[in-house]
C-alpha cells in the first residue's frame, strides 16, 4: 500500500467511526520496516528483516472512551473493529473531561527539518555485515583479556506515521534511524565483566564510526576487571553521561502531569520553586534537529514544542497530554506519546540536561574520595516517594584520579535531595538515543557495600 493509500485508509476509518455513532474518532496508523544483523567470529550470527504495520482507533461516545487496535488491514476485519470500538466505549465510565484535544491545541505544525534519510532507507545489507565485522575485529584487537562478545551488530529502520482526527487534524511523518551496538566480555581468569556501547541516529552521516563504538565498548568492559566491593560510606558520586541520562529520565518521569495531578510525584507541590542549583536546566525538546524523538506532532496530533522543565534550578513546567491538561486546567504540552497498540500517555520527546562548563576531568579532580559510576542495575527511582536506590558499578576516585574498579554496591539517596546536591555539570553532553546528558556530580550520597 502506498503512502496516499494509508492516509486515505486512516481517514476512511475515522469517518466511518463517526457515522457509526462516535462523537469523536481518531486513527493512529504506523507502518515500518527494519533490518538487523549480528555477527560472531567474522560471520553472520543472525539476520532479521521485517515489515510491520498497525492502526489504533480511539472513539468517544457520550464522553466514554473505547479503544481498539489491529495489525490486520483486511477490510472486513476493519469494519468489525469499528463496531467493537463503539461497543467497548459502553464499558467505560462517562467523563466530561474525555475527548480529543481542544481545537485551540492544534494549529500550525512546527518545521522540524528533515527526519528521513534516503541513504539510511536504501542501505545495502552488506553495510551492516561489514560494519559489524569491523567492530568485532576492533574489540578483539583492543585487549587480549576480551575473550568473547555477547553481541555486536548493526541495523536500520524506516517508519511512517499517519494520523486522522475528527477534530480536523490530519498529518503524517516519515523517519529513519540507523544504529551500531557492541557488548564485549572481558575476563582476567577469575572474573567476567561486560559493558556496552551503541550509537543511534536518524542520518547516516551523523552515525559514529564502527571503530569508535567498538573501542568505547571494549574500554568500558576491560576497566571493570578486578572490581570489588567498597565499605559503606557517604561520599561524592559522579555519574558518567549515560548514567546521568538515566537520572534525568527519572526526573522527567516525576514531571509527568498525570502523576503530578494525582499527587503521585515528589515534584507535585514544587512548581515555581528552586529545586536545584542554578546550573541545572532540564529541557524536553520535541523540535531538536534530527533528534530521534523529534516529530512535528505528538500522538494526538498536537504540535510538538520545546518545554523547559527545570530552568536554572527552578521547576518551570510539567508535561501534559490533552486529557490530563483538561483535568489539571492547563494546556497540553504536546507530550502525548504512543504506538498504535496503546492509548496516548505522557512522556518526554528528546530530553536533555544542558551542559555546563567543566570538563569531566575537572569534575573528578576535586574529589579526594568518591565513586565514578559507569553502569547501574535496577529501576531504582521511585518518583512517587523520591526514594532512589540502584546497584552500581564503576571506578573508585582517589585524590582526583580514577583508580580501582568497584561492583556489588548500591548508591542511594532521595531525588529531592539529589537535585539539590547536584553540584557540578560537565561540558560533555552526550546523546544516547533520545536522552542526552553530560557528566554530573552529587556532593554526597550513600554507598552501601561491606
Amino acid at each position: 500500500m502506498s503512502a496516499t493509500n494509508y492516509e486515505a485508509l486512516a481517514k476512511k476509518i475515522m469517518a466511518r467511526a463517526l457515522k457509526r455513532g462516535a462523537k469523536q474518532a481518531e486513527v493512529f496508523l504506523q507502518v515500518g520496516r527494519n533490518a538487523d544483523v549480528r555477527v560472531r567470529d567474522g560471520e553472520i550470527e543472525d539476520l532479521t528483516q521485517a515489515t510491520s504495520k498497525g492502526l489504533g482507533l480511539r472513539v468517544f461516545v457520550k464522553n466514554r472512551l473505547g479503544f481498539v487496535w489491529t495489525s490486520d488491514f483486511d477490510p472486513a476485519g476493519l469494519d468489525t473493529l469499528i463496531d467493537r470500538a463503539i461497543a467497548l466505549a459502553e464499558m467505560s465510565a462517562p467523563n466530561p473531561l474525555n475527548g480529543l484535544p481542544d481545537l485551540a491545541a492544534f494549529g500550525k505544525l512546527p518545521d522540524v527539518g528533515a527526519l528521513y534519510d534516503a541513504e539510511v532507507a536504501s542501505l545495502p545489507p552488506d553495510w551492516k555485515i561489514k560494519a559489524s565485522i569491523e567492530m568485532e575485529k576492533v574489540i578483539r584487537a583492543f585487549d587480549p583479556r576480551i575473550k568473547t562478545i555477547d553481541s555486536v551488530g548493526a541495523g536500520e529502520s524506516v517508519s511512517e506515521i499517519y494520523l486522522a482526527s475528527s477534530s480536523g487534524m490530519h498529518g503524517s511523518s516519515q523517519g529513519t534511524s540507523v544504529y551500531l551496538y557492541a557488548s564485549p566480555v572481558a575476563t582476567d581468569g577469575e572474573q567476567l565483566q561486560t559493558s556496552y556501547w551503541y550509537d543511534a541516529k536518524r542520518f547516516f552521516e551523523d552515525l559514529d564510526t564502527p571503530e569508535n563504538v567498538a573501542a568505547k565498548a571494549a574500554h568500558r568492559a576491560v576497566r571493570l576487571l578486578g572490581a570489588k566491593k567498597v565499605k559503606s560510606q557517604k561520599c561524592p558520586i559522579v555519574l558518567d553521561p549515560t548514567m546521568a541520562a538515566g537520572f534525568i529520565s527519572s526526573i522527567a518521569g516525576a514531571a509527568n502531569g498525570d502523576a503530578v495531578f494525582k499527587k503521585s510525584s515528589f515534584l507535585a507541590a514544587k512548581l515555581g520553586q528552586r529545586i536545584a542549583p542554578a546550573h541545572v536546566s532540564i529541557i524536553d525538546d520535541g523540535l531538536r534537529p534530527r533528534g530521534l524523538a523529534t516529530s512535528p506532532f505528538d500522538g494526538e496530533g498536537v504540535p510538538t514544542r520545546r518545554t523547559s522543565i527545570i530552568d536554572h534550578g527552578v521547576l518551570k513546567a510539567f508535561l501534559y497530554d490533552a486529557f490530563t491538561a483538561r483535568k489539571a486546567k492547563t494546556k497540553t504540552t504536546g507530550n502525548a506519546s504512543r504506538g498504535y497498540r496503546s492509548l496516548p500517555s505522557i512522556s518526554a520527546h528528546n530530553l536533555l540536561l544542558e551542559p555546563g562548563t567543566l570538563t569531566p576531568e575537572q569534575i573528578i579532580k576535586d574529589i579526594p574520595n568518591g565513586f565514578y559510576v559507569t553502569a547501574m542495575l535496577g529501576h531504582g527511582a521511585n518518583t512517587v516517594t523520591g526514594e532512589y536506590s540502584r546497584g552500581a558499578n564503576g571506578l573508585w576516585i582517589e585524590n582526583g584520579e580514577l583508580t580501582r574498579p568497584v561492583q556489588e554496591v548500591t548508591v542511594a539517596g532521595n531525588l529531592n535531595d539529589m537535585l539539590l546536591q547536584l553540584d557540578a555539570v560537565g561540558n560533555d553532553l552526550t546523546f544516547h538515543g533520545a536522552t542526552g546528558a553530560p557528566t554530573i556530580r552529587f556532593k554526597e550520597l550513600t554507598v552501601s557495600g561491606e
Binding site: 561486560t194 556489588e408 552501601s448
Partner: protein
C-alpha cells in the same frame, strides 16, 4: 531450502488482547487488540536468518522466506517436508478462552478492586486497577518434521495504590495475579483480595524508617521473592550465555555453586501457572528441569539452536515474545525446592537483620553475576522478632555468592500469584517464580543510612 539451509521453520501467531483500566474512581478505558503474523527462520550452521511479516498473503510469505534464506550460501533444491503433529499434554485447560469472556465481567473485577482498595483505609488516596488478558494461538512447523499448535490464554488483574500519611508522606502498594487460568479463578482469587493486599502494603509502609546500609542477615518471605532466584541464578543458566561464555556459570557444570540447601527447578509444566507452556515457541514440549541440586550445578536451559550447537537436547526453553522475535532460551516457572525449617524458626534464628516481605523488581548482569532486588515492604528483625518498617531497601549481591550464603530454607513452598514478566534482549515473556521462606547471610543491603555508630 533451495539455498541449501539445514533447517527452516514457520511460526504463525494470532493474539487477541483485552484490557480494562480504571483510575480516579472511573473506568477509564476498555480495549481490544489483535496482532497476527508469521515469522520464518532459516538456520545454516550457526547462522540464522529471520524474516517476519504481518501480511499473510502468499507473495509476502515467499518474500520473507527468501530474505530469511539470505544467510544460506549453498546449493539445495526446493523440496517438500512431511510434518507430523506432535501429541501434547495440557497444563492449562480453561472453561472458555479468555478472549470469549464478556468484557463487562472483566470490567466488574476492576470496579470491585477499586472499591475494596478505597474502603480499606481512609489514607488510601489513589487507586489504579487494570485487567489484561490475551488468547494466543500459535502454530510451529519445521523441516525436522515437527508440527505443533497451542492456544495460550493468559490474564492478570492488578491494583496499585498510593497512601498518604502525616506530613504528606506517600507510600505505594501493588499486588496482582492470574496466570493461564479460567475466568472463574477470580471467584476465589477475588479482586477484593488483590486490592486489600495492595492497600495493606501501602499503609504498612507509612512511617517507615531509613534502612541501614551494609551487610546484614536477610529473611525473604515466601512466594514472589522467588524473583531473587530468577535474577541471581536463573538468567545465568540460559544456554545462549553459556555457549558464548558470557555467563559466570559457563564451564561450571557439576561444580558446587550454592549451599547444600539449594535446589533450583525450572518447571514449564505446572498447572495453570503464568510461565507454563504445553509447547515452547519452537514446538517442543515444556519440561521439568533440575538446574541446581543440593548446591551442585546440574544443567542449563536450552532452545533448539543452542542445544544443537552445544551437542545437547532442547529443554523446551525456546521462547519468543511474538512472531516479531527470534526464539531464545528463557525461564518458565523457576522455584527453590522447600527445606525443613518452619518460617517461625527461621525468623527466630536471626538476632539482627532485615525481613523482606514484598518485592518490586530486579535486574541482573549475567556476566559478573551482580544482581539487585528491590524490596517494597521490609521490616527490621530484632532478636528473632519483626520490628519497624523500613523504606528504600535494595538487596545487591553476586549470584553464586548469595546462594552459598543461604543458611536456612523454609518448609513453606509458595508460588507467586501470577504477576511476573521477564525481559531479555528487549523481549518480554510471562514467567512464574516461587520460594519458601529463606535466610541469606551477609547480604549487602542498600540504604541511605550508614550504620556502625551504635
Amino acid at each position: 531450502m533451495e539455498r541449501g539451509a539445514d533447517f527452516a521453520e514457520v511460526y504463525v501467531e494470532r493474539n487477541e488482547f483485552t484490557a480494562v483500566t480504571l483510575e480516579e474512581d472511573k473506568v477509564k478505558s476498555a480495549q481490544n487488540g489483535l496482532s497476527q503474523g508469521v515469522g520464518l527462520r532459516v538456520i545454516s550452521g550457526a547462522k540464522v536468518g529471520y524474516a517476519y511479516s504481518d501480511d499473510l498473503d502468499e507473495e509476502a510469505l515467499f518474500r520473507a522466506a527468501r530474505t530469511a534464506a539470505f544467510i544460506a550460501q549453498g546449493g539445495g533444491s526446493e523440496q517438500s517436508f512431511r510434518v507430523t503433529r506432535t501429541p501434547l499434554p495440557t497444563f492449562y485447560r480453561l472453561d472458555a478462552h479468555l478472549a470469549d469472556v464478556e468484557v463487562s465481567l472483566k470490567r466488574d473485577l476492576v470496579v470491585r478492586a477499586n472499591k475494596a482498595a478505597r474502603a480499606f483505609d481512609q489514607r488510601i488516596k489513589q487507586v489504579s486497577c487494570s485487567w489484561a488478558d490475551s488468547t494466543k494461538r500459535i502454530l510451529v512447523a519445521n523441516t525436522a518434521g515437527r508440527l505443533a499448535e497451542d492456544t495460550q490464554d493468559l490474564c492478570r488483574l492488578s491494583t496499585m495504590v498510593v497512601a498518604e500519611g502525616k506530613k504528606g508522606e506517600r507510600r505505594t502498594g501493588s499486588y496482582g495475579g492470574g496466570g493461564r487460568v479460567s475466568f472463574a479463578h477470580f471467584d476465589t482469587f477475588t479482586p477484593e483480595t488483590v486490592a486489600r493486599e495492595a492497600a495493606r502494603q501501602a499503609i504498612a509502609g507509612l512511617g517507615a524508617a531509613d534502612a541501614e546500609a551494609g551487610q546484614q542477615t536477610v529473611v525473604l518471605a515466601p512466594g514472589w521473592s522467588g524473583i531473587l532466584l530468577h535474577e541471581a541464578v536463573g538468567h545465568g543458566l540460559e544456554a545462549d550465555f553459556i555457549r558464548k561464555g558470557t555467563s559466570l556459570f559457563a564451564g561450571k557444570l557439576g561444580q558446587k555453586v550454592a549451599s547444600d540447601l539449594v535446589t533450583v527447578i525450572d518447571d514449564g509444566t505446572m498447572a495453570n501457572a503464568r510461565g507454563s507452556l504445553n509447547v515452547d515457541d519452537e514446538g517442543n514440549a515444556a519440561q521439568f528441569k533440575v538446574l541446581i541440586e543440593r548446591g551442585e550445578l546440574k544443567g542449563f536451559m536450552y532452545d533448539s539452536l543452542n542445544a544443537k550447537l552445544m551437542n545437547q537436547q532442547t529443554t523446551g526453553s525456546g521462547r519468543r515474545e511474538s512472531f516479531k522475535h527470534l526464539p531464545m532460551p528463557r525461564m518458565t516457572n523457576t522455584y527453590l525446592a522447600p527445606g525443613e525449617d518452619t518460617p517461625e524458626e527461621i525468623l527466630k534464628s536471626v538476632d539482627k537483620g532485615v525481613y523482606c516481605a514484598n518485592f518490586g523488581g530486579g535486574q541482573v548482569d549475567i556476566t559478573n553475576g551482580n544482581f539487585v532486588f528491590e524490596v517494597s515492604e521490609a521490616y527490621e528483625i530484632k532478636k528473632g522478632k519483626l520490628g519497624r518498617p523500613l523504606k528504600g531497601v535494595t538487596l545487591i549481591g553476586v549470584g553464586p555468592e548469595a546462594l552459598k550464603n543461604v543458611s536456612r530454607v523454609g518448609n513453606d513452598p509458595m508460588p507467586d500469584p501470577g504477576m511476573g514478566t521477564c525481559g531479555k534482549d528487549g523481549q518480554s515473556v510471562p514467567v512464574g517464580v516461587g520460594l519458601p521462606t529463606l535466610r541469606i547471610d551477609n547480604m549487602t543491603v542498600g540504604g541511605t543510612k550508614v550504620g556502625g555508630k551504635r
